[in-house]
Amino acid sequence: MYKKKIFIVIAAFNEESVIDKVINEIKKLGYTNIIVVDDGSNDKTFQKAKKTSVLVFRHFINRGKGAAIKTGIKAAEKMGADIIVTLDADGQHNPENLNKMVESLFQGYDVVLGSRITNHQFMPITRIIFNMTANLIIFILYGLWVNDSQSGFRVYSKKAFTKIYTKKDRYEYDSEVIKEIAKHKLSFVEVPIDVRYTQYSTQKVYKQSFNNGIRMLIKMIAT
Protein backbone atom coordinates (compact mmCIF):
# COMPACT_ATOMS: atom_id res chain seq x y z
CA MET A 1 0.00 0.00 0.00
CA TYR A 2 2.67 2.55 0.99
CA LYS A 3 4.57 1.89 -2.23
CA LYS A 4 1.86 3.85 -4.07
CA LYS A 5 3.05 7.30 -2.95
CA ILE A 6 6.75 6.60 -3.31
CA PHE A 7 8.42 7.95 -6.41
CA ILE A 8 11.81 6.81 -7.62
CA VAL A 9 13.76 9.48 -9.49
CA ILE A 10 16.65 8.43 -11.71
CA ALA A 11 18.84 10.98 -13.49
CA ALA A 12 20.49 9.44 -16.52
CA PHE A 13 23.14 10.55 -18.94
CA ASN A 14 24.33 8.21 -21.68
CA GLU A 15 23.24 5.06 -19.87
CA GLU A 16 21.66 3.16 -22.76
CA SER A 17 23.48 -0.04 -21.86
CA VAL A 18 22.11 -0.31 -18.32
CA ILE A 19 19.08 1.96 -17.89
CA ASP A 20 16.47 -0.67 -18.74
CA LYS A 21 18.08 -3.19 -16.39
CA VAL A 22 18.11 -0.64 -13.54
CA ILE A 23 14.44 0.22 -14.10
CA ASN A 24 13.34 -3.42 -14.31
CA GLU A 25 15.18 -4.27 -11.09
CA ILE A 26 13.23 -1.54 -9.29
CA LYS A 27 9.93 -2.64 -10.82
CA LYS A 28 10.49 -6.21 -9.63
CA LEU A 29 10.50 -4.90 -6.05
CA GLY A 30 6.99 -3.52 -6.57
CA TYR A 31 7.79 0.16 -7.06
CA THR A 32 5.70 1.47 -9.93
CA ASN A 33 6.16 5.23 -9.75
CA ILE A 34 9.47 5.60 -11.52
CA ILE A 35 10.61 8.83 -13.14
CA VAL A 36 13.65 8.90 -15.39
CA VAL A 37 15.15 12.20 -16.46
CA ASP A 38 17.36 11.91 -19.49
CA ASP A 39 19.89 14.71 -19.11
CA GLY A 40 20.57 15.43 -22.76
CA SER A 41 22.05 12.04 -23.61
CA ASN A 42 23.46 11.57 -27.08
CA ASP A 43 22.76 7.85 -27.10
CA LYS A 44 19.52 5.87 -26.88
CA THR A 45 18.98 6.33 -23.11
CA PHE A 46 15.66 8.11 -23.63
CA GLN A 47 14.31 5.51 -26.06
CA LYS A 48 15.42 2.57 -23.92
CA ALA A 49 13.84 4.09 -20.80
CA LYS A 50 10.59 4.82 -22.68
CA LYS A 51 10.32 1.14 -23.67
CA THR A 52 10.10 0.15 -19.99
CA SER A 53 6.80 2.09 -19.68
CA VAL A 54 7.93 4.45 -16.94
CA LEU A 55 7.69 8.25 -16.91
CA VAL A 56 10.56 9.69 -18.88
CA PHE A 57 11.41 13.34 -19.24
CA ARG A 58 14.18 14.75 -21.38
CA HIS A 59 16.50 17.73 -21.01
CA PHE A 60 17.22 18.76 -24.58
CA ILE A 61 20.73 19.80 -23.53
CA ASN A 62 22.90 18.41 -20.76
CA ARG A 63 22.52 20.40 -17.54
CA GLY A 64 24.07 18.10 -14.96
CA LYS A 65 23.05 15.42 -12.49
CA GLY A 66 21.75 17.92 -9.95
CA ALA A 67 19.56 19.65 -12.52
CA ALA A 68 18.15 16.32 -13.73
CA ILE A 69 17.36 15.13 -10.20
CA LYS A 70 15.63 18.42 -9.43
CA THR A 71 13.52 18.06 -12.59
CA GLY A 72 12.54 14.57 -11.48
CA ILE A 73 11.72 15.77 -7.96
CA LYS A 74 9.54 18.57 -9.33
CA ALA A 75 7.68 16.09 -11.51
CA ALA A 76 7.21 13.71 -8.55
CA GLU A 77 5.99 16.53 -6.36
CA LYS A 78 3.38 17.53 -8.95
CA MET A 79 2.28 13.91 -9.23
CA GLY A 80 1.53 13.85 -5.50
CA ALA A 81 4.58 12.08 -4.09
CA ASP A 82 4.90 11.64 -0.32
CA ILE A 83 8.34 10.11 -0.48
CA ILE A 84 11.00 10.54 -3.14
CA VAL A 85 13.96 8.23 -3.66
CA THR A 86 16.89 9.20 -5.85
CA LEU A 87 19.41 6.75 -7.17
CA ASP A 88 22.05 6.54 -9.88
CA ALA A 89 21.30 5.25 -13.35
CA ASP A 90 24.57 3.36 -13.84
CA GLY A 91 23.56 0.34 -11.77
CA GLN A 92 25.99 1.19 -8.98
CA HIS A 93 23.20 1.25 -6.41
CA ASN A 94 21.56 -2.04 -5.54
CA PRO A 95 17.76 -1.57 -5.61
CA GLU A 96 17.51 -4.39 -3.04
CA ASN A 97 18.43 -1.70 -0.51
CA LEU A 98 15.32 0.31 -1.36
CA ASN A 99 13.02 -1.31 1.18
CA LYS A 100 15.59 -0.88 3.95
CA MET A 101 16.08 2.80 3.06
CA VAL A 102 12.35 3.56 2.90
CA GLU A 103 11.67 1.74 6.17
CA SER A 104 14.34 3.85 7.87
CA LEU A 105 12.40 6.96 6.85
CA PHE A 106 9.32 5.58 8.60
CA GLN A 107 11.25 5.62 11.86
CA GLY A 108 10.72 9.39 11.86
CA TYR A 109 13.58 10.78 9.81
CA ASP A 110 13.28 13.49 7.18
CA VAL A 111 16.12 12.20 5.02
CA VAL A 112 17.82 8.83 4.66
CA LEU A 113 21.30 8.86 3.14
CA GLY A 114 22.70 5.70 1.65
CA SER A 115 26.23 5.22 2.88
CA ARG A 116 28.82 3.30 0.89
CA ILE A 117 31.56 3.91 3.42
CA THR A 118 30.55 1.14 5.80
CA ASN A 119 30.73 -1.25 2.87
CA HIS A 120 33.63 0.16 0.89
CA GLN A 121 35.70 -2.92 0.31
CA PHE A 122 35.10 -2.75 -3.43
CA MET A 123 35.26 1.02 -3.75
CA PRO A 124 38.24 2.27 -5.76
CA ILE A 125 40.84 3.89 -3.51
CA THR A 126 40.66 7.19 -5.40
CA ARG A 127 36.93 7.31 -4.75
CA ILE A 128 37.44 6.64 -1.03
CA ILE A 129 39.98 9.47 -0.79
CA PHE A 130 37.74 11.81 -2.74
CA ASN A 131 34.75 11.00 -0.52
CA MET A 132 36.67 11.51 2.70
CA THR A 133 38.03 14.83 1.47
CA ALA A 134 34.54 15.93 0.45
CA ASN A 135 33.16 14.84 3.86
CA LEU A 136 35.79 16.91 5.65
CA ILE A 137 35.18 20.00 3.52
CA ILE A 138 31.43 19.70 4.05
CA PHE A 139 31.97 19.41 7.78
CA ILE A 140 34.15 22.55 7.77
CA LEU A 141 31.70 24.51 5.62
CA TYR A 142 28.35 23.35 6.99
CA GLY A 143 29.13 21.84 10.39
CA LEU A 144 27.55 18.49 9.55
CA TRP A 145 29.51 15.23 9.57
CA VAL A 146 28.24 12.72 7.04
CA ASN A 147 30.07 9.47 6.29
CA ASP A 148 29.20 9.52 2.60
CA SER A 149 28.26 13.00 1.41
CA GLN A 150 28.57 12.05 -2.27
CA SER A 151 26.17 9.10 -2.41
CA GLY A 152 23.25 9.70 -4.74
CA PHE A 153 21.08 7.02 -3.13
CA ARG A 154 18.80 9.04 -0.88
CA VAL A 155 15.24 9.05 0.41
CA TYR A 156 13.38 12.27 1.12
CA SER A 157 10.18 12.80 3.09
CA LYS A 158 7.66 15.35 1.86
CA LYS A 159 8.90 17.82 4.48
CA ALA A 160 12.45 17.40 3.18
CA PHE A 161 11.85 17.66 -0.54
CA THR A 162 9.61 20.69 -0.15
CA LYS A 163 12.10 22.50 2.09
CA ILE A 164 15.32 21.63 0.27
CA TYR A 165 16.11 24.23 -2.38
CA THR A 166 19.16 23.64 -4.51
CA LYS A 167 20.79 25.78 -7.17
CA LYS A 168 23.76 23.64 -8.15
CA ASP A 169 23.31 21.70 -11.36
CA ARG A 170 26.23 19.31 -11.46
CA TYR A 171 27.96 17.04 -8.97
CA GLU A 172 28.02 19.80 -6.36
CA TYR A 173 24.32 19.02 -5.94
CA ASP A 174 25.00 16.11 -3.57
CA SER A 175 26.97 18.39 -1.27
CA GLU A 176 24.43 21.18 -1.54
CA VAL A 177 21.72 18.84 -0.26
CA ILE A 178 23.82 18.26 2.88
CA LYS A 179 24.05 22.02 3.27
CA GLU A 180 20.25 22.28 3.02
CA ILE A 181 19.81 19.50 5.59
CA ALA A 182 21.99 21.47 7.99
CA LYS A 183 20.28 24.77 7.16
CA HIS A 184 16.74 23.47 7.74
CA LYS A 185 17.78 21.24 10.68
CA LEU A 186 16.28 18.18 9.00
CA SER A 187 16.73 14.90 10.79
CA PHE A 188 18.66 12.31 8.86
CA VAL A 189 20.13 8.85 9.21
CA GLU A 190 22.80 7.06 7.23
CA VAL A 191 22.02 3.52 6.15
CA PRO A 192 24.70 1.16 4.80
CA ILE A 193 24.10 0.25 1.17
CA ASP A 194 25.65 -2.21 -1.22
CA VAL A 195 27.68 -0.82 -4.05
CA ARG A 196 28.19 -2.59 -7.34
CA TYR A 197 31.38 -1.28 -8.85
CA THR A 198 31.59 -2.67 -12.33
CA GLN A 199 34.11 -1.82 -15.02
CA TYR A 200 31.29 0.11 -16.66
CA SER A 201 30.48 2.35 -13.68
CA THR A 202 34.12 3.01 -12.72
CA GLN A 203 34.95 4.10 -16.27
CA LYS A 204 32.53 7.00 -16.16
CA VAL A 205 35.00 9.84 -16.71
CA TYR A 206 32.47 12.56 -16.16
CA LYS A 207 31.75 11.37 -12.66
CA GLN A 208 33.72 12.40 -9.60
CA SER A 209 37.21 12.68 -10.98
CA PHE A 210 39.95 14.74 -9.34
CA ASN A 211 39.33 17.69 -11.71
CA ASN A 212 35.61 17.57 -11.05
CA GLY A 213 36.40 17.48 -7.35
CA ILE A 214 38.44 20.68 -7.58
CA ARG A 215 35.68 22.38 -9.59
CA MET A 216 33.14 21.23 -7.03
CA LEU A 217 35.21 22.60 -4.16
CA ILE A 218 35.60 25.99 -5.81
CA LYS A 219 31.85 26.19 -6.48
CA MET A 220 31.01 25.20 -2.89
CA ILE A 221 33.26 27.85 -1.42
CA ALA A 222 32.88 30.69 -3.92
CA THR A 223 29.12 30.57 -4.52
Binding site: V37, H59, F60, I61, A67, T71, M79, D169
Partner: protein, 124 residues
Protein backbone atom coordinates in the same frame (compact mmCIF):
# COMPACT_ATOMS: atom_id res chain seq x y z
CA UNK B 1 63.74 61.88 -29.43
CA UNK B 2 62.46 58.62 -28.05
CA UNK B 3 64.97 56.39 -26.43
CA UNK B 4 62.91 53.20 -26.53
CA UNK B 5 64.11 49.75 -25.69
CA UNK B 6 63.30 46.69 -27.83
CA UNK B 7 60.76 45.57 -25.18
CA UNK B 8 58.95 48.93 -25.40
CA UNK B 9 58.94 48.88 -29.20
CA UNK B 10 57.54 45.36 -29.19
CA UNK B 11 54.71 46.25 -26.81
CA UNK B 12 53.90 49.45 -28.71
CA UNK B 13 53.63 47.40 -31.92
CA UNK B 14 51.38 44.85 -30.22
CA UNK B 15 49.14 47.61 -28.79
CA UNK B 16 48.77 49.37 -32.15
CA UNK B 17 48.06 46.03 -33.81
CA UNK B 18 45.22 45.17 -31.40
CA UNK B 19 43.82 48.69 -31.58
CA UNK B 20 43.61 48.59 -35.38
CA UNK B 21 42.28 45.03 -35.34
CA UNK B 22 39.47 45.89 -32.92
CA UNK B 23 38.55 49.06 -34.76
CA UNK B 24 38.35 47.13 -38.03
CA UNK B 25 36.23 44.38 -36.42
CA UNK B 26 33.92 46.96 -34.90
CA UNK B 27 33.42 48.72 -38.22
CA UNK B 28 32.78 45.45 -40.01
CA UNK B 29 30.23 44.04 -37.51
CA UNK B 30 28.75 47.28 -36.29
CA UNK B 31 25.35 45.79 -35.46
CA UNK B 32 26.75 42.87 -33.46
CA UNK B 33 29.47 44.62 -31.50
CA UNK B 34 28.83 46.17 -28.11
CA UNK B 35 29.98 49.81 -28.05
CA UNK B 36 30.87 49.62 -24.38
CA UNK B 37 33.03 46.55 -24.92
CA UNK B 38 34.75 48.19 -27.90
CA UNK B 39 35.46 51.39 -25.94
CA UNK B 40 36.85 49.38 -23.01
CA UNK B 41 39.24 47.53 -25.32
CA UNK B 42 40.36 50.82 -26.95
CA UNK B 43 40.89 52.52 -23.57
CA UNK B 44 42.88 49.50 -22.33
CA UNK B 45 45.26 49.41 -25.28
CA UNK B 46 45.63 53.20 -25.27
CA UNK B 47 46.65 53.02 -21.59
CA UNK B 48 49.19 50.32 -22.44
CA UNK B 49 50.54 52.53 -25.27
CA UNK B 50 50.89 55.60 -23.05
CA UNK B 51 52.46 53.76 -20.10
CA UNK B 52 54.94 51.88 -22.30
CA UNK B 53 55.88 55.01 -24.30
CA UNK B 54 56.09 57.31 -21.25
CA UNK B 55 57.04 55.18 -18.19
CA UNK B 56 57.41 58.31 -16.04
CA UNK B 57 53.68 58.95 -16.57
CA UNK B 58 52.81 55.84 -14.51
CA UNK B 59 55.09 57.08 -11.76
CA UNK B 60 53.42 60.53 -11.88
CA UNK B 61 49.97 58.91 -11.79
CA UNK B 62 50.96 56.86 -8.78
CA UNK B 63 51.97 60.05 -6.92
CA UNK B 64 48.81 61.93 -7.99
CA UNK B 65 46.65 59.04 -6.70
CA UNK B 66 48.30 59.37 -3.31
CA UNK B 67 50.33 56.18 -3.52
CA UNK B 68 53.57 58.14 -3.30
CA UNK B 69 56.62 56.69 -4.89
CA UNK B 70 55.23 53.21 -4.65
CA UNK B 71 54.17 52.17 -8.17
CA UNK B 72 53.64 48.61 -6.93
CA UNK B 73 50.64 49.82 -4.92
CA UNK B 74 49.01 51.00 -8.14
CA UNK B 75 49.63 47.62 -9.78
CA UNK B 76 48.28 45.81 -6.70
CA UNK B 77 45.16 48.00 -6.73
CA UNK B 78 44.59 47.16 -10.38
CA UNK B 79 44.91 43.44 -9.56
CA UNK B 80 42.28 43.77 -6.85
CA UNK B 81 39.92 45.59 -9.20
CA UNK B 82 40.43 42.84 -11.82
CA UNK B 83 39.76 40.18 -9.20
CA UNK B 84 36.48 41.85 -8.19
CA UNK B 85 35.43 42.09 -11.84
CA UNK B 86 36.19 38.38 -12.35
CA UNK B 87 34.15 37.41 -9.28
CA UNK B 88 31.21 39.50 -10.51
CA UNK B 89 31.48 37.88 -13.94
CA UNK B 90 31.49 34.41 -12.38
CA UNK B 91 28.34 35.31 -10.43
CA UNK B 92 26.68 36.51 -13.66
CA UNK B 93 27.64 33.30 -15.45
CA UNK B 94 26.26 31.27 -12.55
CA UNK B 95 22.94 33.13 -12.79
CA UNK B 96 22.79 32.59 -16.54
CA UNK B 97 23.47 28.84 -16.10
CA UNK B 98 20.64 28.71 -13.57
CA UNK B 99 18.27 30.47 -16.00
CA UNK B 100 19.22 28.08 -18.81
CA UNK B 101 18.53 25.10 -16.54
CA UNK B 102 15.12 26.51 -15.61
CA UNK B 103 14.20 26.88 -19.28
CA UNK B 104 15.39 23.36 -20.09
CA UNK B 105 13.41 22.01 -17.11
CA UNK B 106 10.27 23.86 -18.14
CA UNK B 107 10.45 22.35 -21.60
CA UNK B 108 11.13 18.87 -20.20
CA UNK B 109 8.15 19.10 -17.83
CA UNK B 110 5.78 20.47 -20.46
CA UNK B 111 4.74 16.82 -20.98
CA UNK B 112 3.69 16.52 -17.34
CA UNK B 113 0.03 17.65 -17.65
CA UNK B 114 -0.56 14.67 -19.99
CA UNK B 115 0.54 12.30 -17.22
CA UNK B 116 -1.75 14.07 -14.72
CA UNK B 117 -4.78 13.34 -16.91
CA UNK B 118 -3.82 9.70 -17.29
CA UNK B 119 -3.24 9.34 -13.57
CA UNK B 120 -6.58 10.95 -12.64
CA UNK B 121 -8.34 8.62 -15.10
CA UNK B 122 -6.79 5.53 -13.51
CA UNK B 123 -7.42 6.59 -9.91
CA UNK B 124 -10.99 7.81 -10.46
Amino acid sequence: MFNLSFYQLFLITVSIFFLIKNMAKFRKNLADRSLVRFLLIVVFWLCVLVIISFPSFAHLLSIKLGMGENFNTLIFTVFIINFIIIIKLLASIENLEHDITELVRERALSELPKYYKNKSKTTA
